[in-house]
């Protein structure tokens, strides 16, 4: 590798690619700055005076004025934004208005829980999507394929809270009483120590994801299997498993990997509703609570975290897909 890099100047194609990536990253940073400004301004516009929220019944004109000064609320808005952004860049999201705890400390456990939920769901979703997609492609237009397509049209259209509710009815309450309909995880515990609390939220994300990603795997495989080199391999008398593993799989993965990044983004975007549904103690449920409590610093932190993650995953999907951004 190192020798190659020293030996010859990089080919122009990879230079162009590198430039495109650098440009996309620069644009991404710019976009995220605008996003952060937007989040800050919108949350500032929320009804209710922050100082009043904090002081509650103890509010007098004097204490209000003192607290406003302490919180910097008397300063111009752009200065407040600057202070906030500088803090965010150093990992300091301010303190919660409800209990005075640092937001980063308050959310650390929540972030870990949401991350665990998303990662576990993705790890289960990817191999199942590959398997289902490949089998459907192999049996194109036969019963399995038709059944899979029909199911995916319904499931892909179904909002996550509905999928989750149906799963609760099936596995948690009405039909079988196998799993708790509410995900109780004591604060401080890892969600992995409470698998029974993880099953339904993970399953909700997996069911939705597999139906979407499996479709893309299927189409990528159909394309790869009908390509010339696979036909040639067939003529050479190679067996189907060998063709699948050596020729079709690597080529089908090309379009599937960026799609997986899209699904990851979609999973992150879906956490608000899924966590709310199962009362899963992650950042999505924390956001709904914070909105109910008008806890501005917490709202700002969570919205920025989700938006940044969602944006970066989408950007990665675009870059992996190469060239012009794909429609989504």
């Amino acid at each position: 590798m190192a020798v190659e890099l020293l030996a010859a100047p990089a080919p122009s194609r990879s230079t162009r690619r590198a430039r495109a990536v650098a440009l996309a990253v620069a644009q991404g940073v710019g976009t995220l700055l605008v996003v952060s400004l937007l989040i800050f301004l919108v949350t500032q516009a929320m009804p209710g005076d922050v100082a009043r929220v904090v002081l509650g019944t103890r509010a007098t004109p004097e204490t209000l004025a003192t607290l406003r000064e302490q919180l910097g609320l008397d300063r111009p808005i752009w200065e407040q934004y600057g202070t906030w952004l500088w803090g965010v860049l150093r990992g300091d999201f301010g303190t919660s208005l409800v209990n005075g705890m640092p937001v980063s400390e308050l959310l650390a456990g929540r972030i870990r829980n949401s991350l665990t939920l998303s990662v576990v769901a993705m790890l289960i979703m990817l191999p199942i999507s590959l398997l289902v997609g490949i089998v459907a492609a192999q049996r194109r237009d036969r019963a399995f394929d038709q059944g899979f397509l029909g199911t995916s049209i319904v499931v892909n259209a179904t909002p996550e809270f509905v999928t989750g509710t149906v799963l609760i009815a099936l596995l948690g309450t009405t039909v079988f009483h196998l799993l708790p309909p509410v995900s109780f995880i004591p604060p401080g515990d890892s969600p992995l120590a409470h698998p029974e609390a993880m099953v339904l939220p993970v399953l909700t994300l997996v069911v939705s994801g597999v139906m979407y990603l499996g479709r893309l795997v299927r189409i990528a495989f159909i394309d790869a299997m009908s390509s010339e080199y696979v036909q040639t391999a067939r003529l050479k008398g190679l067996g189907t498993p060998r063709i699948l593993a050596r020729h079709a799989l690597p080529n089908a993965l090309g379009p599937v990997i960026p799609a997986a990044s899209l699904v990851a983004a979609y999973t992150v975007g879906g956490v608000v509703v899924v966590e709310y549904l199962f009362a899963f103690p992650g950042i999505g449920a924390a956001l709904v609570e914070a909105v109910n409590n008008r806890d501005l610093p917490v709202i700002q932190a969570i919205v920025l975290l989700i938006a940044a993650t969602y944006y970066v995953l989408n950007l990665v999907a675009d870059l992996l897909a190469g060239g012009e951004p794909q429609g989504r």
Partner: protein, 295 residues
């Protein structure tokens, strides 16, 4: 992505009835027909259902979570109200808010996408960067953020769903318009000095009509999903109104006792979103067939 320019497409677009032929081809797809049929049925149910409701949807008619009985065919909800009457009333908001959002989002998104593809340069950069900012927010997050500021007003919800859906449409239509712009007849129209607005309307728009149809279906599906989810998490239609998303939220603690109070609105939401998806899938299949791709 970009299909090579084909001579028959050029010929077809010069044909005055090209648009009619395109629509007929879409209508020939069974999924499109089923989708339109389901959409019409759901819309009729949502708007006219209230007239058929046997009870006042806001008044209790029995004990909470009572099972179905003669006259109260789907049982009662958490406050003892008639589930059937509430389901019949519960689509009234959704059935105007979702299609309005979808149509506006597709119209605005198509205008943005076509403009970006046609003018390229700084217009393209400016428009698509602005779309990127909106795309950083998952639809529900964007809607929740603004509803928390201004309150759950129906017109505000529609506006937010439109804002959330426009960028996706703009990207797709821009992508579909780019190859068309390179074709001879568009270049010819530019060369003879046809006004840009006329070129956009008469040359570009008819050539992206199939993707537009797909977008209408997809965005209707998303609009219903976002609006129902907002009701579910408590920032959409407010109680005591009857609303499908809200009903799922209100009655889910009684899922073990009176599942119908949850499952009846669930079925209505699913039928509604599936109608949009069927239209989108059917139209996408027609496009794939004409371009000779696998579906």
């Amino acid at each position: 992505m970009s299909a090579p320019p084909r001579t028959e497409a050029v010929a077809a677009s010069r044909e005055p009835s090209a648009r009619g032929a395109g629509l007929r081809r879409l209508w020939a797809a069974p999924r499109v027909r089923w989708g339109v049929l389901l959409l019409a049925a759901t819309t009729a149910f949502a708007f006219l259902g209230g007239l058929l409701a046997p009870f006042d949807p806001s008044q209790p008619v029995g004990a909470p979570y009572a099972p179905p009985s003669p006259g109260i065919w789907l049982g009662t909800d958490q406050l003892g109200r008639d589930v059937l009457s509430r389901v019949l009333h519960g689509g009234a908001y959704l059935a105007w808010m979702a299609p309005t959002s979808a149509v506006l989002a597709v119209a605005i998104g198509a205008a943005v996408g076509l403009a970006a593809a046609y003018w390229r340069g700084w217009v393209d950069t400016l428009l698509m960067r602005a779309m990127d900012v909106v795309l950083a927010f998952p639809g529900i997050l964007l809607t929740l953020l603004f509803v928390a500021v201004f309150g759950p007003l129906p017109w505000l919800l529609v506006t937010l769903v439109v804002v959330a859906l426009v960028p996706g449409v703009a990207r797709v239509i821009r992508g579909a318009a780019l190859p068309v712009i390179g074709r001879e007849y568009v270049q010819w129209a530019k060369a003879v000095g046809m006004p840009s607005a006329t070129i956009l309307r008469t040359e570009l728009l008819p050539n992206v009509s199939s993707p537009l149809f797909v977008e209408l279906g997809v965005r209707l599906m998303w609009a219903v999903g976002i609006l129902a989810s907002m009701s579910f998490i408590g920032y959409g239609i407010q109680p005591p109104a009857a609303d499908w998303g809200l009903m799922v939220s209100e009655n889910r603690t009684g899922l073990g006792i009176q599942p119908l109070a949850v499952l009846a609105p669930v079925v209505m939401i699913v039928v509604y979103t599936v109608s949009g998806n069927l239209i989108a899938e059917g139209a996408a299949r027609v496009i794939a067939r004409t371009e000779g791709r696998a579906e």
